[in-house]
Amino acid sequence: MKKIEAIIQPHKLEEVKEALKAIGIDGMTITEVRGHGRQKGHKEIYRGMEYHVDMLPKVKLEMVVPDARAEQVIQTLVQSARTGKIGDGKVFVYDVADAVRIRNDDRGEGAL
């Protein structure tokens, strides 16, 4: 099993969800997050007051999928989340040791 974690632009969320749904991925955890990548922050001046903008709003999606599906999910995510501009985000993939369904003790891929 792989855990796939994607940080994407907020406005791309609906499109990404639709694309994942189309390939049969329904379960995911979505979090509104703030952070920055390589560009770091920038200073913004509004009416003479200086504001430091270092944390940009993004959306984080997390899902665990069977190994066999991982590549397809990653491709779908990347294609649907891409605008080609700076700040499009990243996808991280982790190995998952095990999964348990709390309700009935199902283990491994059967618990997904």
Binding site: P10, H11, K12, R34, M49, Y51, T83
Partner: protein
Amino acid sequence: MQNLSQSETLTRSNSVDEIVLAAFDRFELPVTAIAVGGYGRRELFPYSDVDLLLLNSGPLDPAAREGVSAFLRTLWDAGLRVSQSVHTAAECCVIHEGNLELTISLLDQRYLRGDASRYEQLTTAFPKFLNSQRGAIVAHLIQAARTRHAKYGGTIYHLEPDVKEHPGGLRDLHVIHWLRKMKSFETEPLDQVREQLFAVRSELHRFSRRDNNVLMFEAQEALSTDPANWMRQYYRNARQIFGAATRAINACEPVENSLFSQFRERRSRLSTADFTVSRERVLLRNPGQLTHDPSAATRLLLYVGRHGLRVAQDTMQRLTLMPSFAMTWPELRRLLALPHCVAALRVMAESGLLVKFIPEWSRIDCLVVRDFYHRYTVDEHTLVAIQGLEQLSGDQQSLRKRFAALYTEIDHRELLHFALLLHDIGKGDASGDHARQSSVIAQRVMERLQAPQEDRDTVLFLIEQHLALSSIMTSRDLNDGATARQISQSMGTIERLKLLTLMTYADVSAVNPTAMTPWRLEQLWRVCRIGLDEFTRALAADRIGAPDQADAQTSAFLEGFPTRYLRTHSPADIQRHQELARRPPGIALDRLNGTYQLTVITPDRQFLLASISGALASFGFNILKAEAFANRNGLALDTFVFADPNRTLELNPPEADRVRDTVERTILGKVMPPGSSASGAARFP
């Protein structure tokens, strides 16, 4: 039929008595059984605890202790949840620091069984003890009630209320009951509201099959066929209880002599010919005044809105009794522009003046909207939203201070407040689009109040669009120029964008205390920011071309001005400018909230802006803002906003003519502005 639930709690208490007495008689116990707390009051709800006090004369020997245990086991086996304590009469008459629960439970005591002489000791000693400790106990009761109210946000309007602990719950009835045992003061009859609350709690306990006091959605649905209306009734009931409890607490509040209370007393300096302020509360000097002079109510509200004071109980009662209430649109605008307008709105809502003034308000009064996110009823959400803006002032938190700055920039916060007041009023309707429905109702209200068209347009725009920015925030690419263009086009003016940003801020923040996350704050600000950037960039570059204005005169005037001119000026401004342009040079000097505005329209020439600036500076004025536009016919429009730190214009009204005259001669090139020559420099500050 009447007092069904109260007689039910009494019946349960009686049958518990039988069980307790029968069990007591089975064991030879060297203690005296006394019912205290709710059981002492003969108010036992299904599944509620049975509070027992066992009076002894000294430490119990092992045999007696075993007997007491067996007695209690018998009660548990009979299905009673007993909560017992064992004390001597002397122990009952001591203040237990930090824990007055025993003392308070003893306020409701009832002899059950056992050595009666021991009970007599208690009934002789306890009143003396109460007498000596009255002040401390009352202070404790008040403190505990205040802390409890604060813990639950000081509001009864929770969507899943706790019928015991929340403001307006059973505990508040107890507080009134206990305070009345300690002090004498008047309260309104509460039998009916008590009966209602008793009925709800009894049914809730039966539904939950335990002592559960949280009225969850699930229970609301199970206990009534029309949960929305049933809950409305619940809130109205709770509102009465909360009001009565607050009044009881205020009536019993000890007169403190602390530094803080002396400071608060200083506010009594605010007293006027109409009102006195005592202990943070406003009183009418002449109590009968409201009857023969209804406009005193408006003055009172303005006063409350200016100083953020509370209204004394007696005055509140008189407001409630007013047969009708109305304000003019200008009065309402004044009220809503005040720094504590929510305090005044709350007085209006609680006294019923708001419904008398805007009958449509009753649609959302205590209205529950059932979803996961909303914490408050619709009316409360509305007031919390406006309060959120009030509290923005001076907020230094890095994400919020930008909104705080925005709030100080807008010209008409009262229109924003009014739009918020009515933004959800359409929720009382079953149909889907509440923003649309709210704007229809708001339109009707403003027609009735004869609000000018310009104000109506702004308010209706804000209400109709109050969800627009939230949607852009989550669904549009903020780095895309098209999004920025769409924002600037749909908002129309910079002022509207600012107003709507603040409206969105207030609306989201008032959903629940954690709804406005840093994520949303940042995202909302970005939406506002890209919109503002678009306005300032595009508007300066865009020129008004072949205009679609109806009349040729307006077209000729506007042609060649940057689009920014249209976006930063109201139609009334534009019309005024046109009038000034008829006989150039047109010069107007107006007073504007503590500053002055000079508007000049004249054929453009080199150094025009500079020489007018010089003329103003020569009078010692401080220029705060200046704008210059020129149209295709070479007509220049310059506006200056300036402060008058020496109060020259205020103290010498004829000086205004001299300013106009100097400016005119400067424009026509007849004089060099005095400030530009060595001799005129004397007036510089």
